[in-house]
Subunit: 277 residues, 6 copies
C-alpha cells in the first residue's frame, strides 16, 4: 500500500516545481563553496538550518538580509530529488489567523508522511512566527506547533528532512528552537574574490580587461581579499549586488564607475544606517 | 495576456489621480535640492523611505511633522509615470480592524503584480501600524504583513517600487523594518535661503524691496543662512510656513511684521514645548 | 452644491446650541486676561489645546481640575460663529466600545467637512482615551483614530479648527500627541486680584466695604497679589471658588468668615492631600 | 415637570430603605466624634470619600478592614433625607461583566438626575474596580466610567452628593481618582476611651464596677488613652470588637477575662500576621 | 418561613456527606495537638484559614504539600454539626471558564444563606484562583468574587463560617486576601514523637519492641524530638508517611529497615530537590 | 461492579499498544543502569518524573534533547502490566485550543479511575503547556488542570501512577509543579563505556577487533571513561548516536573513521552552538 499512498501524494501534493522555480529564478552562482553543499541521500540528520551568520552587531540589518538563504534552501531541496518537496513560506499566509497557519503547516507535515522520503523547506521562520524584537512578540501557538512537528518522529519507514531559513539566528536560541542537526551560514559577500566571481558569472564585462579594471576600482574603494577580521570591512548581499549590476549595466560607457559607486553607497548606508542616497 | 491583465487593472485600480492630487494640492515649491529627486526608470531599488531626519532629540515633535514628506512621495510617484500608482494611507482606514487593514494592503500589492511597473506609496507608516511609544504598542499583525509583502519578490517580469513615509525613523529600526534600499530625509526649513525661496514662490510680497525687508527682519529674529550646527537653531516645517504666510497676508500693511512675529512664535512653541500662543 | 451641503448640515448636525449652553451654564467671568482670547477669523492654525498648566508636581491634582477649561473651549467655539460647531465629550460615551467611540468621533469629523468653516471641541481628551497612569493603560485604537483625523487635511475649500482640552498635559507628550499649533493654559486662581474679580462678579457682597474686608481676610489667610514664585502658594479652581461662594452666601451675617474658612480648608486639603474636612 | 419627574423616580428607584437598613443593622455607636458628622443641606461639595486612614504600613490589613466605613456612609446618606438615595455596591455585582457593571452604575446616576437632590453611596470602590495590587490589575473600563460620571455636572437645578468608601486610600491616588471635595477617615479604635464607649453602649457589663475592672484589664493588656504616636500601639476595628463582645458574653462568670484575651489575641494576629489562633 | 427555607435547603444542598467522606478517607490520626481544634458553637469568627506554614524557603515544596490541610478542614466542618456544610474545590471545576467558576461558587454562598448556620470549606484556594508564581498569573475575576463574597455580611439571623485551605500562604498576602479571623498551620511532621504516634496509630508493628527499634533507627537516621530550630531538620508530610508505611508493610521481615530507608530517601529528595530515587 | 467497569474500560481505552510501540520502535539498549528501573507493584508513589538532568548551563540544548526519556517512560509503563496504560502527548494535540487540550487530558484521567491500577504517561510536559522561556509564556489553564488532576486523589480502591517527561526540569520548579515522589534523570551518554555498549548492541562492527579500534579512536577524539567532572566533557544523546551509527554504516570500509568524525562534529556543534556542519 506504500505505492498507493505515494500515488495519492503526487497529484495533490508532490514536488511543487513552480514554487521552487519562483524562488530560484535565475540559477545559482557558486561564488562561495557553501553554495555547493549537497544533500547526499545517506545524510541521517533530520533538521537543517540555513541562517545569516552572527549576532545583529556583526552586520547591520541591511546586510544580513537577502544573502541568498531561500535560494540555497530551494537548491538543496531540488538536488535531493526526493519524491516529496514542499515549501512552507509566510508569503502564502498573509492575513492568516494563527489557526489557519497551524492547519496549513501541519497539513504539509501530514502529507510528507505519505512519501518514503520528503523534504520540507520552512522559509523565513521569523515571519512565520510573527516575530518582532519589540516585546518580543510572536505567535506562541505557531511556535509550539512547529516545535512539536519538528520533534515528532515520522512513521516507521518514512524519512523527513526539514530545512529552515532565518535572518535572525539569535531569535531561535532565545525561543529554545535550537536543536538543529546541521547549520549552514550564508554570509554577505565580503571578499573581492566573491565579488569578482559574481561579476564574471553575470557577464557584466564582455572584455576581461574591463572586468579587471572594475575589480581594481572596487579594491581601491575598500574591498579586500584577505582576512575578514578587520573592524570596518565592507560587505554586500548577493541580491543587492545583482541589482547594482543591473543598474550599472544601463550606461554602457561608465559601467565600472557606476558599479563601484553604487556598491560603495550601499555600504555606507548599511554602516551608518541613516544615510542619504 | 499581459495586455489583458493591464486592461483589467486600469479601470478598477490604475493610477489614483484624484488621491494624488489631494495630497499635493498646490504644487510643489523647490526650496531644497531634495525636492528635485527624480525616479529615473533605471533605478533598480525596490524600497524607498522618506522620513523626517534625526532622533526625537534633534527637533521637537512639532518640527518633525508636516515637512512635506507625503507631498514629496506623491510627486516622485507621479513623476515615475508608471501605469500603476497607488496610495496606502491610514486616512482611509479609520476604524478598520487589523484584518481589514491587512486585506486592503495586500489587495494593493496583489493588484500591483498585474502591471509591469508599479509604484506603491505607503504613507505615514507609524499610523498604519497603530504605533505608540508608550509600551510600545502597535499592530504586530499589520507589521508582519507589511514585512512579508515588502520582502516578497514580484512575479517574473514585474517591477515594483515601494515608497514609504514616516515621521518616526527610529521606530522602524526598533521594529526591524529597516532594509530600505534608499532613504530621503525631508527636514524642516532651517536656512534663511529656504525661507526666502518659499516666500518668493508664494508671491507674498509683490515688490522685491518689501521681500528683502522681510528677510532682513527674519534674519534679525534669528534665522541664519550658514551652517546648521548651532545648538539653538530655528526651524519650521513647510506646512506651517505656508499657513503663516496665509495669515500674514491678511493685513496688507504689516505683512513683514506679522510674518516675522508668527514664525518666531511658532519656534518658541516648538522649542519650549509649553508656550503661550 | 456647497449651499446644499450646508443646508444638509444644519438640521442634523450644525451648531449644538444646547450642549454648549449646558457647558457654560452661568456665563463666563473674565477674572484673567486668558479668558478674553478671541478666535479671529484669520487664525490659520488648525489645532488648539486648552490645558491645566504644569507637571503634576506643580499643583496637586485637586487644583488642576475644574479650572474652567471646558467652559473656555465652548466660549471660544461660540465666539467663532462658524456654521458648524460640535462637542466631542466622554460624557456621552459611557459604556461605549472602542469601535462605537471611533465611529461617533469620525462621524463628527466627516460632518464637519460639509461645512466651509467648522469648530470641533474635543473635551477631556484623557477620558476619551480611557487613560490611567497605572500601566499606563489607554485605548490605542481611539488614540490612533484621533491622530489620523487631526492630521488629515480637510477637503479643498474647507477649514477646520480643533480645540482639545485636557487636565493631563504631560500625557499628550508621552503619547506623541503634541503637534498643536497653539496652546492655552487655564491655571487655578492664585492671585488675590483674581479672587476679588470673581467675588465682585458674583455680587457676593452688596456693599463694597464688606468686600474689602473679605479680601483683607483672604490676604491674611495667605493669598497674595505679587509673584507666583513662592513655594507654598495658595490656589483654587474657579469651579470650587464658585461653590464656596454659594456656601458662604447661606449665612448672611458671617459671609466673609465662612468664605475665608472654606477657601483655606480647600487649600489645606489640596496641599496635604489627606486632610479631614 | 419637576414634580412629575420626582414622582416617576419614587416608585422605581427612590430611597432604597431596605438596603440601607441591611448595611446599618444594629444602629451606630458614637464612640468617636467622626461618627457624628452631619450632612447639612447647605454643603455644596459634590464628592466625599470615607476611607481607612494611612498607608498599608501604618496598620496591618486586618485592622484597616471593617472599621465601619459602610455603616458611616449609609448613616450620612440617611441623615440627608434627600428624596433619592442609592447604594452602588459590589455585593450585587458578582459575576457581572464590565459592561453590566457600567450599565448598572450609569443607570443609578441617570436616575439620580431626575430628583432635585440625590445621594449616591459608592461602597468599596476597590472591589467595584476589581483591583488587585498584583500587577496591578483592575477594570479600566469601570474606572473610566466612574471618573466621567463623577466629573459630569448634573443637569441644571439638580444637586448630587456622591459618597464613596474604600479601605485602600493609596489606590485612588495611584489611579488618579483623587479629586474629592472632602475626606473622612474611619480608623480602627486605638484608645481605651473608644473601647470603653463601645462596651458601655452594648451593655456588656450590667454593673459599672465590672466594666471598670474590664477596662483596667484592657489597660494592663496594653491599650492606652494617651497619644497614638507610639510605635507598637494596639488597635481593633469596631466590627471585630463587637464580635469579641458577643463571644465574651457567652460565659457569664469570665466575661472580662475573655474579652481581654480575645482582644489581645486579635491584636497579636494583626501585628504578626502569621499567628496561631 | 425559616423552617421552610431550611427544608428547601436540605434535599438539594445540605451537608454533602459523600464529598466529606471522600476527603477524610481513613479517619484522622491525632499526631499533633492542632488536629484536635474544635469549632465550638460560640466562635464568632467568620473566616478561618488552614495553611502550610512558613515561606517557601522554610520547607521545600515537596514538604509543604499534603500535610493534611483538607482533611483537617473537613474534620472541623463535620464536627460543627451545622445543618449546611459545603465543599468548594477545584477538583470539580476542571475546564470551567472563569464565569462558570464564579457561578458555582456564588451559588454555594447563596444556598448557605438559607440555613441558620453554615460552614463552607474553600479547598486549595490557589488552584481555585489558577495561581502561578510565574507572572504571577491568576484569575482576577474569581479572586474579586471570592473577596466580595467573603466580606459580604450574611442576612440577618444567619451565621456563616468559611474555612479556606492553602499551601501558598504568602500568595494570599500578596493578593490582599488576608483578613482572616483565625489561622491554623498544619506543618509536616518534624518530631520523632509525631512519627511514633502515626506509626502506632496505623499499627505497623504488632509488637511494641519492634516499634521501639524502628523509632531508634529513625532517630539514628536524623529525626529528633527536641526543638525544631536546627537548620537541617528532617520533616515529612502525613500523606507521604502513610504511603511509606504502606510500602514498608509489604516485606514483613524488613519493615523497620524499609521504613527508615524510604523516610530518609524522601527527605533527601525534598532537600536537594534533584535526587535520584 | 468493579469488573463491569473494567470491562467497560478495555475496548474503548485500555492499553494503547500501538502508541507505545511507536514510541519504543526498536527496543531498548541497556547502556546505563537507569534503563533497568522497574516499576515493582508495591511502589506506592503516585507521580514520577523523567527528565534531562541539570540546568541549561550544564549541557547545551542540543544534548539535553533526545536522550531517550519518552522511550524510558513507555518502557516502564509497559513493564508495569497495569490494565490501563495511556499516553498523553502533544503530538496528538497540534492546533488544539486550550479547552480541547484540557478536555482530552481530563478524559484520560477520568477513564483511568475506572481501572483498579493505571499508568498515565504525560510526555513532553513543556510542549503540553505551550512553554516558551521568552516571557515566559505558557498555557496557564492547561497547567492548572494538570496540577489539580495530579493532586486529586483517585477514588477509593483505585491506584494511579503518573509518569511525566521533560527536557526542561527547571521550568517545573518555576511553575510550582514540583511535588514528584520520584525523579529519574536520563543524561546524554558521556562515558566511553556507554558508547561501547550501544555500538555493540547495534552490531555495527561484526568483528570485535574493529570495534576495539573504533573505541580507541573515540577515546583519542576525547571520550573518556573516568569521572564526569571535567569542564569540557563530550556527550551525545542516544538518538543522535544511533543516527550516526546508521550514517557510518553506509561506507563499509571507513566505518570507524566516519563514526568518530560524526560523533566529534556533533559535539563541536553542541558546544559552540554556531558551527558549520
Ligand atoms: N548564489 C546565487 N546566485 C545567483 N543569484 C542568487 C544567489 N543567491 C540568491 N540569489 C538571488 O538573489 C535574490 C535573493 O535571494 P534570496 O531570496 O534567496 O535571499 P534571502 O537570503 O532568502 O533573502 P531574505 O533575507 O529576504 O529571506 C533572488 O532573486 C535569488 O535568485
Ligand atoms: N515643497 C512643497 N512646496 C509647497 N507645498 C508643500 C511642499 N511640501 C509640502 N507642501 C504642502 O504642505 C502641506 C503638508 O505637507 P505634507 O502632508 O506632505 O507633509 P508631511 O510631512 O507628510 O506631514 P505629516 O508629518 O503630517 O505626514 C501640504 O498641504 C502640501 O501641499
Ligand atoms: N471664567 C469662568 N467664569 C465663571 N464660571 C466659570 C468660569 N470658568 C468655569 N466656570 C464654571 O465652573 C464650572 C467648571 O468649569 P469647567 O467644567 O469648564 O472646568 P474644567 O476645567 O473643564 O473641569 P474638568 O477639569 O473637570 O474638565 C462650570 O460650572 C463653569 O460654568
Ligand atoms: N459606629 C458603629 N457602631 C456600631 N456598629 C457599627 C459601627 N460601625 C460599624 N458597625 C458595625 O460593624 C460592622 C461592619 O461595619 P462596616 O461594614 O460598615 O465596616 P466597613 O469598614 O465598611 O468594612 P469593610 O472594610 O469590609 O468594607 C457592621 O455590622 C456594622 O453594623
Ligand atoms: N491527621 C491525619 N491522620 C490520618 N490521615 C491523614 C491525616 N491528615 C491527612 N491524612 C491523609 O493524608 C492524605 C492527604 O491529606 P490531605 O489531602 O488533607 O492533605 P493536604 O494538605 O490537603 O494536601 P494538598 O496540599 O495536596 O492539598 C489524605 O488521604 C488524608 O486522609
Ligand atoms: N535506551 C535506548 N536504546 C535504544 N534506542 C533508544 C533508547 N532510548 C531512546 N532510543 C531511541 O532514540 C530515539 C529518541 O528517543 P526518545 O524519543 O525517547 O528521546 P526523548 O529524550 O524523549 O526525546 P525528546 O527530548 O525529543 O522528547 C527513539 O527512536 C528511541 O527509539
Ligand atoms: Mg529568504
Ligand atoms: Mg504625511
Ligand atoms: Mg472639562
Ligand atoms: Mg464596607
Ligand atoms: Mg488539600
Ligand atoms: Mg520525548
Amino acid at each position: 500500500d506504500f505505492m498507493n499512498a505515494l500515488e495519492e501524494v503526487h497529484p495533490a501534493f508532490g514536488v511543487s516545481e513552480e514554487e521552487l522555480q519562483q524562488v530560484v529564478q535565475n540559477g545559482i552562482i557558486h561564488y562561495d563553496p557553501i553554495i555547493d553543499v549537497n544533500v547526499t541521500k545517506d545524510v541521517p540528520f533530520e533538521f537543517w538550518l540555513i541562517s545569516s551568520p552572527g549576532t545583529p552587531e556583526d552586520w547591520p540589518t541591511v546586510c544580513r538580509a537577502r544573502t541568498g538563504k531561500t535560494a540555497l534552501a530551494a537548491t538543496i531541496a531540488q538536488a535531493s530529488t526526493f519524491p516529496f518537496i514542499k515549501l512552507i513560506t509566510p508569503d502564502n499566509m498573509i492575513g492568516f489567523s494563527e489557526n489557519q497557519k497551524i492547519q496549513s503547516i501541519s497539513k504539509v507535515f501530514a502529507d510528507s508522511y505519505k512519501s518514503p522520503m520528503s523534504v520540507i523547506v520552512i522559509d523565513n521562520i521569523e515571519r512565520l512566527l510573527d516575530w518582532t524584537p519589540v516585546g518580543p512578540r510572536f505567535s506562541n501557538a505557531v511556535l509550539q506547533s512547529l516545535m512539536v512537528l519538528m520533534a515528532k518522529r515520522p512513521p516507521k519507514g518514512r524519512r523527513l528532512l526539514v530545512i529552515a531559513t532565518t535572518s535572525l539566528r539569535p531569535m531561535l536560541t532565545e525561543l529554545g528552537l535550537s536543536s538543529f542537526d546541521s547549520e549552514l551560514h550564508v554570509p554577505p559577500i565580503t571578499r573581492l574574490r566573491g565579488l569578482e566571481h559574481v561579476i564574471e558569472a553575470v557577464e557584466l564585462f564582455p572584455r576581461s580587461k574591463d572586468r579587471a579594471r572594475a575589480i581594481a576600482m572596487l579594491q581601491q574603494a575598500g574591498f579586500k581579499d584577505g582576512d575578514v577580521g578587520e573592524n570596518n570591512r565592507l560587505s554586500i548581499g548577493v541580491k543587492k549586488l545583482l541589482s547594482i549590476v543591473e543598474m550599472a549595466r544601463q550606461e554602457p560607457e561608465a559601467v565600472a564607475e557606476r558599479l563601484t559607486k553604487f556598491t560603495r553607497a550601499s555600504n555606507i548606508m548599511s554602516l551608518t544606517n541613516y544615510a542619504i542616497a
